[in-house]
Amino acid sequence: MTGRHVAVVGAGPAGLAAAETALSAGARVTLIDSADQPGGQYHRMLPEAYRAVRPERPQHGWRDFDRRRRRVLAHPRCAWWPETSVWALERPDPEEPGVPRVHLLRGPADGGGRRRLTLAPDALVLAVGAHDRVLPFPGWELPGVFAAGAAQALAKGERVVVGDRVVIAGSGPFLLPVAASLLEAGSRVLEVLEAGTAATVARGWSRRPWQLAAHAAKSGELAEYAALLIRHRVPYRVGRTVVEARGDGRIEEVVTARLRPDWSVVPGSERTSPVDALCVAHGFSPRLELPVAAGCALRRTPGGEFVAVDYDQRTSCPGVYAAGEITGIAGAPAARAEGALAGWFAGGGDSAAPALRPLRRGRDRGRAFAERLAEAHPMGEAWPQWLRPETIICRCEEADYASVCRAVGNEASAGARVAKLETRAGLGPCQARVCGPTVAELGARLTGRPAQRHAEGAPTAGPHRRPIAQPIRLGELAEPEPSPEDPTAGPHPL
């Protein structure tokens, strides 16, 4: 036993693997997730009460996951804290380097009885994953338009189908498992539309084929999804996307169009089809508010910003490790390998352990996979051409494209924070999680001014800065700050 206390935030594939190896290294582990069961988005399960006879049916790698889940949750040195969210990470005084203190709220988010707790761990593993990136287009705010991940969560977690006649559109291989989940749950999927053109996708996937072979598990999974689409006679079209959703109070039809490699619309290629639901995902946005709150450095890639980690999954912040989609979008196998490495080192494991070699290999294969994923499914530069002046950019605050253009196009109000306060884009309940990357990108294009330079001491205006990571009620905030929990204590009674 190393006696170290490791807090793992997120119990998806990466977090669960991290908990497992931290325990093997001899540490005590507190595993935290906002859901009531482990698994994350990838292994989302039906709630206990609605558990089907064979809950594993719509699942991949279920058996391994189930074994790992049981091992971790039953371990005497593991405390499993479901329905617990991290609302703040408190960085230590720069004079006394240490791991950020973890401020938690325990209990169902909509319930009245949440408790405030804090943890002062020796190491912190952040494995909080990603959510769908959804680009705006006319009508995307209509009821019946879903982020693909949300639709999948409904299908997997509650067996709720979003509609009878569904179109899935966007970019990236994630569209396939979403289609599979919807088909399994009983929806009719009319078509799956990949915005990338055939040439772009093929170029990305055919380059360096040995990497793909090495990543056989993931390719195999994709092949299965493809087979499922064929079985259900669902067309998979490349170089086409939904450029408009229409309907009276609810989506009734979509306009799809053929795209050029830069995602500009080929004139005259528009087609209208009746639907009752649309699922969209244009890749993923890593959930960066906790890494940013912890003070972790980010790295910029063609596919967006991610947490920078070293060979052992260490971030720039001492004692803080990152694993899974926040370090790069690479899927569950890579997330598991990263999580296993992060947990081992966070738990004080020996860096010469022989088991590390296959893990590192797995992780490196995952990163290579992430790279080719980004190459095969780049976001086309010309997507803002889909927008009209009245197109909503921020759904929470109903800020439209014209107001964003006006604010950032005006020299006096072009500063990111000034434009945000003026247009209100990003100030609503989702706190820019959906529109943040879009507004940042539009701002950079319209002003020709890249991301805002950070002046020393000046408040940062980054799109991922959310010091309050989850809403907390004023009454909860007013409770006296609890002293750090004893990690050896088991699950906390509510």
Partner: protein, 399 residues
């Protein structure tokens, strides 16, 4: 004065207000900021235009001047730039100060009596009048006063509107441009070296807010302006719940205090978007921008004492900023006695949004040798709190 070149250092609300006054007076104005305009302290405050929190004295007089100027300035801006002026969200909603202890009530009554002699409008609210004005405020109060002159603006938009007006009058904005050092000749500043080259001018205005101390040190004429951190909580949008700017009587004490450790007092108000802003805290922690949950907690405790019904309302974000603080709590407006051509406007602590237009007016009058709207002597640079021994600590804190 045509042809006189002025460089305003800092594009926060004070710099923007100065740029506007000087550009409209016919000077050739360049505004420089190391980041983007209105993005630092200006965009992290509550947008207060208050007279209620100041006792009789020069700062109240400056606040009254500014309160008179704001509607005039916005009307003038609206004639040229209607959209920018609308975005300012000028709202003369009035302030209500509530005491919850007997000692607080006595202090508030005494304070208001002094303000009345200085021409501030205040009216005592009895329990019924308070319940009419603010139905959700605590019933457990011992005194309440209404200040009809208090107003609110959306601060970043206010700065942007002043700046846009300055630009329309011929001023030039240079962002991402950091000042490194002064170029002097014979005791006179003739230029500044910046990250994007040399800028020459006849006059330079230090309007760098809480960074004024550091900037003035770089220019070789240090003034003692230090950062004092504040935090604000923002709730999810609510149906109308808070109708005025409502604060507890402790706030007045906190504004005037010099304590370095944490001070909190409740300041609660709604924005046009429906969110409720909950402040405020004062801490002297240099430029440390880390979130401190115990500070947010202390703010929440005080706010709930005023509005117990807000306990179930979710806070969806918090932001913090740095106020420019001078040890004697008076702004600095005037020429530097050591370096000819350098002027300072700053040190307004938490009142800079409100006081910006009055300060800019005084600066213009002093620069152009015009009769001044009020006696500017209390704000002179040449006073012990500004040039005294404290100036050395500015450098330390800034490092």
């Amino acid at each position: 004065m045509y042809g006189t070149r002025v460089v305003v250092l800092g594009a926060g609300i004070v710099g923007c207000a100065c740029a506007r006054e000087l550009a409209l007076a016919g000077l050739e104005v360049t505004v420089v900021d190391r980041g983007a305009a209105a993005s630092a302290t200006t965009a992290h405050g509550e947008g207060n235009v208050l007279v209620s929190d100041k006792g009789p004295g020069p700062e109240l007089e400056l606040a009254q001047l500014s309160r008179r100027l704001w509607p005039q300035v916005l009307t003038a801006v609206a004639e040229r730039l209607a959209h920018a002026a609308r975005a300012v969200e000028w709202e003369p909603k009035g302030g209500i100060v509530v005491a919850t202890t007997d000692a607080g009530a006595r202090e508030l009554t005494r304070f208001a009596a002094g303000q009345r002699t200085a021409g501030v409008h205040t009216e005592v609210l009895d329990a019924d009048a308070l319940a009419d004005a603010e139905p959700y405020v605590t019933r457990e109060h011992t005194a309440a006063l209404h200040y009809p002159e208090d107003a609110q603006v959306q601060p970043a938009a206010a700065a942007a509107a002043l700046l846009a007006d300055a630009l329309a009058a011929g001023a030039v904005l240079r962002t991402d441009c950091e000042v490194l050092a002064a170029v002097t000749r014979g005791g006179r500043i003739t230029g500044v070296r910046t990250s994007s080259g040399l800028l020459e001018a006849d006059w330079f205005v230090n309007a760098a807010g809480p960074w004024s101390g550091e900037l003035s040190t770089r220019l070789g004429a240090p003034v003692d302006i230090r950062p004092r951190r504040g935090d604000v909580l923002v709730t999810t949008p609510l149906p109308p719940t808070v109708f005025h700017k409502v604060y507890d009587a402790d706030y007045v004490g906190a504004v005037g205090s010099s304590a370095g450790d944490l001070q909190t007092s409740a300041v609660v108000e709604s924005t046009r978007g429906g969110s409720v802003l909950v402040g405020s805290s004062r801490r002297r922690v240099g430029f440390d921008d880390r979130l401190r949950p115990e500070v947010l907690s202390a703010i929440a405790v005080k706010a709930l004492r005023l509005f117990p019904t807000l306990a179930g309302v979710p806070v969806m974000r918090a932001y913090g900023g740095f106020r420019p603080y001078v040890p004697d709590h008076l702004p600095i407006i005037g020429a530097d006695p050591r370096l000819t051509g350098l002027w300072h406007v700053g040190g307004h602590e938490g009142a800079g949004i409100g006081l910006s237009v009055g300060s800019a007016r005084l600066l213009r009058e002093l620069m152009l040798d015009q009769p001044t709207a009020m006696d500017p002597a209390p704000f002179r640079v040449d006073r012990p709190a500004v040039l005294g021994g404290g100036a050395g600590t500015v450098v330390e804190e800034a490092v």
